[in-house]
């Protein structure tokens, strides 16, 4: 029995929660052959907490872990992690890096039926206790607007079709598999169409960018008036775009190409990447993403959008355009006119080709253009940092209204929001 269980859970399913600085460890784990990617938390075996988890995520993560079916375990991967990732979560397996994971020990802890993870964490209480009127708890409020046993039912709302149907508050929430971690979107759905987006919340804590911010670092150093090698800036841009493209392809149900892109992203082999980008920029992707979530250039200007999102709507916003080093290399910003999801994909893919090209020719050139992968890092009036992802968050609330579900998911994915970066000040 134990051998059978050991074999059965030999490649545990992971449900990711990405914290501060956790994107790269998670991407590394995705490539690992010992792990497989699940869908929701219910069927997952491991709750993978990658990076430093903000403390106010504790309640959400506790609830999330509780919904996981047995056997389950918390896998905490963060540099310099201590044993207990968050108070309230049972001790699982902690590692400071992906290579340092001892899989045998992990399996032992996962399959430990007497362990702390195999017991219920939270008290057995219904979310909304039932208050009936009668002695035996019977009677009470009706189904609409009251609180019957459990949760209330959705209320009715007028619909553009003049039908009085239900208006369902749904979260496209902080931990939706495939979308940026920590981004809470409160939607009100009618059927599978979004009536409006009520709330946009970035759950990452506001702070100044930490030292060693991964692929945003070259652009941040450029903003600090440092001369950064063009090769560094372009490599960072390439890595970011390729990671985004792989995640989008996972959402579009093409996991094979996504995995190959992640592999090629590790060592940036120019030839292999060009071939994969050719395959990605296909008619399939075009038909799947065209005419979804159109942002006109007027709207892009009004909402102060940044980077590839703005360039896909026809705005020629690129700080590299004014930089002498880039101008010497013959740089032209990549601009598309469509403003839909396909245009945003196309801009980023063309920028990948452009980066590969620039990497070949850049040599030892240095630049001061603070152009990150998602846009330019600007200074605010008070001397703070204005990140491109924070500016792009403005497109969510107006842009999501009226979209169908799959369009909404693709729209959020196409904005390429880095929630950790968006919280920087």
């Amino acid at each position: 029995m134990h051998r059978a269980r050991h074999f059965a859970f030999g490649r545990p399913r992971a449900f990711p929660v990405v914290g501060l600085g956790g994107v790269e460890p998670w991407r590394e784990l995705l490539l690992h052959r010992q792990l497989s990617l699940g869908r929701g938390p219910r069927d997952a075996d491991l709750l993978v907490l990658s990076g430093e988890i903000p403390t106010d995520w504790g309640n959400t993560l506790r609830a999330l872990f509780e919904t996981m079916a047995l056997p389950r375990l918390v896998l905490y991967v963060a540099p310099g992690a201590d044993t207990d990732p968050l108070p309230g979560l049972p001790p699982g397996y902690t590692a400071s890096s992906v290579e340092g994971i001892d899989w045998t020990l992990l399996w032992e802890r996962l399959l430990d039926s007497q362990g702390p993870s195999a017991r219920a964490l939270l008290a057995d209480q219904p979310p909304t206790p039932w208050r009936g009127r009668g002695d035996h708890g019977q009677g009470g409020e009706g189904m609409m607007g009251g609180t019957p046993y459990g949760r209330p039912m959705a209320m009715t709302m007028e619909d553009p079709d003049q039908l009085a149907l239900d208006d369902v508050p749904t979260a496209l929430g902080p931990h939706f598999p495939g979308l940026p971690s920590g981004l809470y979107l409160g939607l009100r759905l009618q059927g599978d169409r979004v009536r409006q987006c009520e709330g946009v919340e970035n759950r990452f804590p506001s702070q100044s960018p930490p030292p060693g911010s991964g692929h945003r670092e070259p652009a941040l150093r450029a903003r600090a008036r440092e001369a950064v090698p063009v090769a560094d800036l372009e490599q960072a841009r390439l890595r970011s775009h390729l990671g985004w493209l792989a995640d989008l392809l996972d959402l579009c149900d093409r996991p094979g190409l996504a995995m190959r892109l992640r592999e090629a992203r590790k060592d940036l082999d120019s030839h292999a990447l060009r071939r994969l980008l050719d395959r990605a920029e296909s008619r399939q992707l075009y038909y799947q993403t065209r005419n979804i979530g159109v942002i006109s250039s007027a709207q892009a200007r009004q909402w102060r959008l940044a980077g590839p999102v703005a360039r896909a709507s026809g705005l020629k916003l690129d700080t590299r355009n004014h930089d002498p080093a880039y101008r010497e290399l013959g740089f032209q910003p990549v601009v598309e006119r469509g403003g839909d999801v396909w245009s945003r994909c196309r801009v980023r893919i063309r920028e990948c080709y452009q980066s590969l090209d620039l990497l070949d020719r850049a040599g030892d050139a240095h630049t001061r253009a603070p152009e990150g992968a998602r846009g330019s890092f600007l200074d605010t009036a008070g001397g703070g940092l204005d990140t491109p992802s924070a500016r792009n968050l403005a497109a969510l609330q107006p842009g999501l209204a009226g979209l169908e579900w799959h369009e909404a998911v693709l729209f959020v994915g196409s904005l390429d929001l880095d929630t950790e970066e968006a919280a920087w000040r």
């Binding site: 490649r11 929701g40 047995l70």
Partner: protein, 317 residues
């Protein structure tokens, strides 16, 4: 294989064949996925049994207020309908569960009822993402049901009968329907992918809905749901063999063996085709199905009608 009016040996035998067929499809699917990822290894071989054991050992966790009868009934119904449809599938003139004179109508009806199973899988768990997935699948079904039915009628036309065995007999006397109705074959294979919501039609287990019907499923019901989906894919592609590929016709080997080989080939090809095609957009597909696919299937019907009136030899006369 007929033992009087009721064929007692056929159901267990069919069940065993379905189990073997599903195992075959699980491996083909795994191989296709690993090829697409560029990661073929020993894990490709070990993967399907590992996943099966994992699902058996994993806990089945209820949601807060599910409709348990519908939720658990969904995979059971799927499997029941699939097996019922297999009653009229002839592996050879002798090897058939019960050859009905309206076999075509029967299995089309069984496939149409699988919609109910997919809807139950969406409604049962009382969770938002599966619900959306279930309703979207109903929309998809409206799109593909008509081309499927029309194409199957076009196949019945040369045989002058709605019995699947007569369709096979006609093909063996004349030409395979794959040759005389290539358009019908393509449409049928497309619908054979859509009925078990496979590949581009995967709106039920959708990644953009965090897994759709798979979000709240874990453990043995999840295994049964996936098993039912594979079994349905096996069945829809299995019917392509007597309808289009001449049933058990072939040299040297006996008819049942040929039937099984063809079934494995067709279903394996369809499973592999589901990879790397991305997802179709439901709204555009529904438009396309009604404005393009139905007229095409009607055109197919007209063509074959015309052809067999002009050349009765095509119908084995």
């Amino acid at each position: 294989m007929n033992y009087g009016p009721v064929n007692w040996l056929a159901p267990p035998l069919a069940l065993v064949l379905v189990i073997l067929g599903v195992a075959w499809l699980a491996w083909v699917n795994r191989l296709a996925g690993d090829l697409a990822r560029g990661r073929v290894s020993l894990e490709t071989l070990m993967g399907p049994p590992r996943d099966m054991l994992r699902d058996l050992h994993k806990e089945f966790r209820l949601t807060e207020r599910p409709d348990l009868a519908l939720w658990l009934g969904a995979p059971l119904l799927l499997l029941t309908l699939t097996m019922a449809a297999l009653t009229v599938l002839p592996l050879s003139p002798d090897w058939v569960g019960a050859d009905s004179s309206v076999g075509v109508v029967f299995f089309t009806a069984m496939f149409a009822l699988t919609l109910v199973a997919a809807y139950w899988a969406g409604w049962g768990p009382n969770s938002k993402y599966p619900l959306i997935a279930g309703y979207r699948f109903v929309g998809l079904m409206l799109a593909y049901e008509m081309p499927l039915a029309i194409t199957v009628i076009a196949v019945a036309l040369p045989a002058e009968s709605l019995s699947v065995s007569s369709i096979v007999a006609t093909q063996q006397a004349a030409y395979w329907n794959a040759l005389t109705q290539p358009l019908g074959l393509v449409i049928y294979l497309l619908c054979a992918l859509a009925v078990p919501f496979w590949g581009p039609f995967n709106v039920v287990n959708a990644p953009e809905l965090a897994g759709g019907a798979l979000v709240e499923l874990s453990g043995a019901p999840k295994l049964l749901w996936r098993f039912g989906q594979y079994a349905l894919l096996l069945t829809t592609s299995a019917f392509a063999v007597p309808l289009f590929f001449g049933g058990g016709a072939g040299p040297w080997w006996p008819a049942p063996v040929w039937s099984l080989v063809k079934i494995l080939l067709v279903s394996g090809a369809l499973v592999a085709l589901g990879h790397g095609l991305g997802r179709l957009r439901l709204d555009r597909f529904m438009w396309w199905a009604w404005v393009v696919l139905i007229p095409l299937s009607l055109l197919n019907l007209f063509l074959i009608g015309l052809l067999i009136l002009i050349w009765p030899g095509l119908a084995g006369k």
